[in-house]
Amino acid sequence: MTTTSARSKITKPSDRQIRVERVFDASVDRVWRAFTDPKLVAEWWGRGNTLVIERMEVERGGHWRYVEHAPDGTHGFEGRYREVTPQERIVRTFEWDGMPGYVIVESTELEDIGNGRTRVVTTSLFHTTEERDGMLNSGMEGGLNQSYEALDRLLAKTR
């Protein structure tokens, strides 16, 4: 499925993945800084709303937390950086305070396509039931269930 918004090409590789592709008329270096320099992030990430960057440790395992002050209230977003490859790729977890415990893995890739332009591809992976079903189909769950059934029996005996 492909949707085209004003400037993005949006595809859904699976029910739990959203891939958004967009070309910016700016160098990789500028785009990279826009994603990794807190002062610059504050300028655009809030979509016109005031954005407070409480934490932003751009390194593997680093914590980030942004608070957006929107007309409908205050929204906190946070997560951890999983991968930071300068000028190329950022992978981080993304969690909204409004959906606690619901984690998205967000990967942003930059590609120089010449003429000072950069392609940005964001792939977001959701933890949903589809992923669970995938595990069920792969047979891993069966093995795990058997192990846990055995454990349950053992625990019942030793209660």
Binding site: A26, R47, T129
Partner: protein, 112 residues
């Protein structure tokens, strides 16, 4: 209305606890037995049963007995929430990229 309020209270109470939020996150990945959850969160079966019951009362988790094992998966409310959240997230992401495009346009002179 009263019923709705009760559901809302139950939902907030259910997600107010970090262990229960962890359980939802875990079940979002795949279903699990009470025993498995108890192990993952290093607590007793009795303790885990209490957490699961609260989540079940709020409609966030659904459980079913399969043989001797009680399996837990996300409940109807959580699944509806998920679908709405995915839609909302996508719109938000697109709006942020619009905003990034405007920012890069606005700061073009800064490109050395």
């Amino acid at each position: 209305m009263v019923q709705y309020q009760r559901n809302l209270d139950a939902t907030f109470a259910a997600v107010a606890d970090s262990t229960r939020r962890g359980i939802l996150e875990r079940l979002g990945r795949r279903e699990a037995s009470i025993t498995e959850l108890a192990q993952t969160f290093e607590m007793t079966l009795t303790g885990m049963k209490k957490h699961v019951r609260l989540l079940e009362d709020a409609g966030l988790v659904r459980t079913a007995k399969i043989g001797r094992v009680r399996m837990c998966r996300l409940g109807p409310r959580r699944l509806a929430d998920e679908a709405a959240w995915i839609g909302k997230y996508q719109k938000m992401l697109d709006a942020r990229l619009d905003s990034l495009g405007e920012f890069l346009e606005r700061t073009k002179g800064d490109d050395r």
